[in-house]
Symmetry: C2
Subunit: 238 residues, 2 copies
DNA sequence: GTCTATATGGGGATAGAC
DNA sequence: GTCTATCCCCATATAGAC
């Protein structure tokens, strides 16, 4: 590969791609440096260790994406003044910076997105710490925004729905190979806009779904008759 | 650990747990055999290689879970006769066998679920082949069931929504640490029934959501005014 | 900043005794 | 079926010349 940039950036670019393809433990520093066309020792010179390299790979990308998320949310809220920002606009502000990242050539998006998706399923390797450091502020801001849009939904339910949304998003990022193989080419995963629109529609509906009759505990198995679900009605249950 | 079973099962149990905690490349055969209290060479005797061990770890669990999924779906369809099985019941048949697996002690569920969640984000290591071999039939059956429940929704949209549902589910399985840390204890991730109910409600709403005006291409950015979305109304757009 | 060479440890797999 | 011992390879990290 060895793009035309500095040694440091060549290492980061190739590490990002290889980590996405083979995982962290599955990617040796030798593989990275030989793909980047740099010397093996350069990694330990520019970064302190492999773990610090991993951290840099993440934060280089997450920082601008999260900044843009917050900027979009700010814009929505300023525009709305004292009004309410719709759930859809909040979801968009959360999802778009990841699914259509700025300043990254389309060829570089797949590795980035695969890598970010992998992050969620990787409990070890300090990935959790990196993630929380970068995401805590973002999560707080969006949780509050959803809460303002849906004041009747209890805070923990808001968090669950945000969690499911993140899951659908991460899966869309990292596991597009599944839908490609299962659909036999019926679904076009290269269409970023189509993905965003579908994901937004799905997530908005889920986030705005009516509260279950009882949030906790088992519900009767036979469930209710197949009639259509009511939309965000007033919740007499609570 | 070394549960009281045979050597082969001790290896499988400990491999499952360690793969979930540290990943495939992050777990050495030595770590597995010493945790299991068996000899290192036993792995290559009972399984052919590390890759074959990974395959066995998965299929040992996936086979009964998928069998139960199909059995639940069969039961729904038989009960409905010529009628329609609701989206909610189909979602339940898909989700419950994973989130409340039978025949596995609660202590053993976390490793299993973490591991299954990890599978989706792991493109390499033959995991794809294993997954597709086990899942192809299941995906086909559930796709058809959703299609029958929602005949107006085009097939590729059905697949996208199933994809998002799988994502929310996988995330719930593998990444419960995220919601735990972000919520600061507000969300109880040990409550399997609560998780199922919330996930089902979210997914059903997403799957039944109205079709967007145009499935492809970019939509006007300002989106529409904040009014509530209509629920599963008749879709005049199509 | 970049290279070579090497220290040090761990990896998967197997041979062959029991 | 189970064990010990070993082969051979690759990993991260560092020392020190250029």
């Amino acid at each position: 590969m060895r793009t035309g940039d500095s040694t440091k950036e060549r290492i980061l670019d190739n590490a990002e791609r290889l980590f996405a393809e083979r995982g962290f433990d599955g990617t040796s520093l030798r593989a990275i440096t030989s793909a980047a066309g740099v010397n093996l020792a350069a990694v330990n010179y520019h970064f302190r260790s492999k773990n610090d390299l991993i951290q840099e790979v993440f934060s280089r990308r997450l920082a601008p994406i999260n900044a843009r998320r917050l900027a979009l949310l700010d814009a929505c809220e300023n525009e709305a003044g004292n009004g309410v920002v719709s759930v859809e606009r909040v979801v968009r502000a959360f999802v778009e910076p990841l699914l259509r990242p700025e300043g990254i050539a389309p060829a570089g998006r797949l590795p980035l997105q695969t890598l970010l998706g992998r992050m969620y399923a990787e409990p070890g390797r300090n990935v959790r710490k990196i993630f929380l450091g970068e995401m805590k502020e973002v999560a707080r801001r969006f949780r509050d925004a959803f809460q303002r849009a849906l004041p009747e939904v209890p805070p923990n339910e808001i968090l669950w729905r945000l969690h499911f949304t993140i899951g659908a998003m991460a899966h869309t990022l990292a596991a597009s190979w599944i839908i490609e193989m299962l659909s036999g080419g019926l679904c076009d995963t290269s269409d970023a806009n189509g993905k965003i629109e579908r994901l937004v529609a799905f997530a908005v509906a889920g986030i705005e779904s009516p509260l279950p009759l009882r949030a906790h505990g088992r519900r009767a198995r036979p469930s209710r008759p197949p009639g259509p679900r009511r939309a965000l009605a007033k919740r007499e249950d609570l």
